[in-house]
């Protein structure tokens, strides 16, 4: 026996749709003519495009018919496969921008802050994975530790900067994390280089670590001060905070 369910009419995004009356009255196989998805013009061999509503609803009736009908017709009815955005763009990852930003940190003597104006977190994630990889090569599994320390360090820098800058400070957490992450590049290079320096607490390791830490500190503090307001007269104080952060990371690498 048929039951009357108060189902709102399913509206398909494009193309013809079965008569709304069919869906409102019953959730069984719609008696309206089945909806034909537009065949792709190119002879693509993608199998799911040739899916047919009629066969689907015939094989699985009942409550699933409505769901499958809507999903497959949505897949077929929306923009075709060629019109979809590339995956990286949809995710918001722009490799050329990441590369540009990373290259700007490579020069320790001149900081290019315009390229860092829009902050993103995908570059820092990539650098974090690279650091974890080099630590793994050195025999230390520290994925969680480094991630936790990056989060805590960026919150620390965010608090200190905004408190010092007072009313004019407008650093936001996203930019702060992005800058702390990108300035990890010298630490990543340090961990790669220290794979080849002999083990043990020799002076070479410390001098090397010191140089890279100073590089990272300079990069981070210059970027932070130039990108957010209110930090100009507190340069030294902020760069000491950055120095503490990167010394902490270098401890992980050196020992």
């Amino acid at each position: 026996m048929t039951k009357d369910f108060a189902v709102p009419p399913v509206v398909f995004p494009s193309g013809g749709s079965p008569a709304p009356g069919a869906n409102v009255q019953q959730r069984r196989v719609p008696t309206a003519p089945p909806y034909q998805p537009p065949r792709p013009s190119a002879s693509s061999s993608i199998p799911f495009m040739s899916f047919d509503i009629g066969s689907a609803s015939a094989t699985q009736g009942g409550p699933f018919g409505g769901a499958i009908a809507s999903s497959s017709s949505f897949g077929g009815g929306s923009a075709s496969f060629d019109d979809e955005e590339p995956l990286l763009d949809e995710l918001g990852i722009h490799p050329d921008q990441i590369w540009k930003k990373t290259r700007s940190i490579l020069n320790p003597f001149r900081i290019n802050q315009t390229v860092h104006k829009d902050s993103d977190l995908s570059g820092p994630i990539f650098l974090y994975l690279a650091l974890c990889l080099f630590q793994l090569l050195a025999g230390k599994i520290q994925f969680g530790v480094i991630l936790g320390w990056v989060v805590v360090a960026s919150m620390f820098l965010y608090t200190v900067y905004n408190m010092l800058a007072g009313r004019n400070g407008n650093l936001n957490l996203h930019t702060c994390t992005s800058l702390v992450g990108y300035s990890l590049l010298p630490v990543v290079i340090l961990s790669a280089v220290s794979l080849f320096v002999p083990q043990g607490a020799g002076p070479v390791r410390f001098v090397l670590a010191g140089a890279f830490v100073l590089w990272a500190t300079r990069a981070c503090s210059n970027l932070v001060v130039s990108l957010a307001d209110g930090g100009e007269e507190h340069r030294g104080l902020i760069s000491y905070a950055c120095f503490l952060i990167y010394t902490l990371f270098s401890l992980l690498v050196v020992f």
Partner: protein
């Protein structure tokens, strides 16, 4: 993005400042946006009343942290000199007060070398954790978990110092100094401690000279501070009890700092 939170209706803070203060009032500005958005939201849930009530009560117990970060390079350098060599400080130890909106409040740290700040204690604590990690690593016992335990140890030490000062104040009948003031004064011990740990790293035997020196300096600094600044609010003046308590504060620095300076894998000892 916090700047448009500035003028709010029903703000209980006085607007008239005798000098142009760029740092503004308690609950405007980005730093205090943290307080406002965090505590204001919970205020509704906990008290069920409007958030202005919660904010005005929060100011009573937990004074505006923005005040403690109004520092500059020169202040930091001079304050470090005072904390590390307190007996060389020729001037007085009282804080300069100014009338603000009918109430007496103290000048911010930029204008007054005796005012407490939170930047130096925070940085000294961070330096202590980093240096302690370094010294652990030099003995070959560095692990990230050991560093976490060192952080906990430092926090416990800071808390114990705060308790010491607070109990001293309370036993004189007045505990009305703002909590952040006491936290700031307690945090100054980490500067001397960093010096001692640095000495230990550079040359092992210097530690045995630096630790008594640090304990003495911290004791003298805390005693002088407590005498002038915090006891100004004590109701009754009981001379001998005053002095015994001050001596107790100075002597209690020794075990505390020796415990904090003893850096090993077992964090409790």
């Amino acid at each position: 993005m916090y700047n448009n939170m500035g003028p709010q209706p029903g703000m209980p803070m006085p607007q008239a400042n005798p000098q142009p203060n760029p740092f503004g009032n308690a609950f405007s500005g980005p730093g205090s946006g943290l307080i406002r958005s965090g505590l204001g939201a919970y205020g509704e849930k906990i008290f069920g009343s409007s958030s202005e009530y919660v904010q005005s009560n929060i100011t009573r117990y937990f004074s505006d942290p923005q005040y403690y970060f109004q520092v500059n390079d020169q202040y930091v350098r001079n304050k470090l000199k005072i904390v590390l060599f307190p007996f060389l400080h020729r001037g007085h130890w009282t804080r300069i007060s100014e009338p603000v909106g009918g109430r007496l409040s103290y000048k911010p740290p930029i204008y007054d070398i005796n005012a407490p700040d939170l930047y130096i204690p925070l940085m000294a604590f961070g330096t202590y954790v980093v240096l302690a990690g370094l010294s652990l690593g030099l003995y070959g016992k560095f692990t990230p978990e050991a560093l976490n335990w060192l952080f906990v140890k430092g926090m416990v030490g800071w808390f114990l110092q705060v308790m010491l000062l607070k109990i001293t104040l309370l036993s004189l009948g007045s505990g009305e100094a703002p909590l952040l003031d006491i936290v700031a004064y307690a945090g100054y011990t980490f500067t001397g401690l960093c010096l001692a740990v640095l000495g230990k790293i550079i040359w092992g035997y210097s530690y045995y000279v630096l630790i008594p020196w640090t304990c003495l300096c911290t004791g003298v600094f805390l005693v002088k501070t407590m005498k002038r600044v915090l006891f100004a609010e004590a109701r009754s003046y009981d001379s001998s009890r005053h002095h015994y308590l001050l001596i107790f504060v100075a002597l209690a620095q020794f075990p505390l700092l020796i415990w904090l300076g003893n850096i090993s894998v077992n964090w409790l000892f």
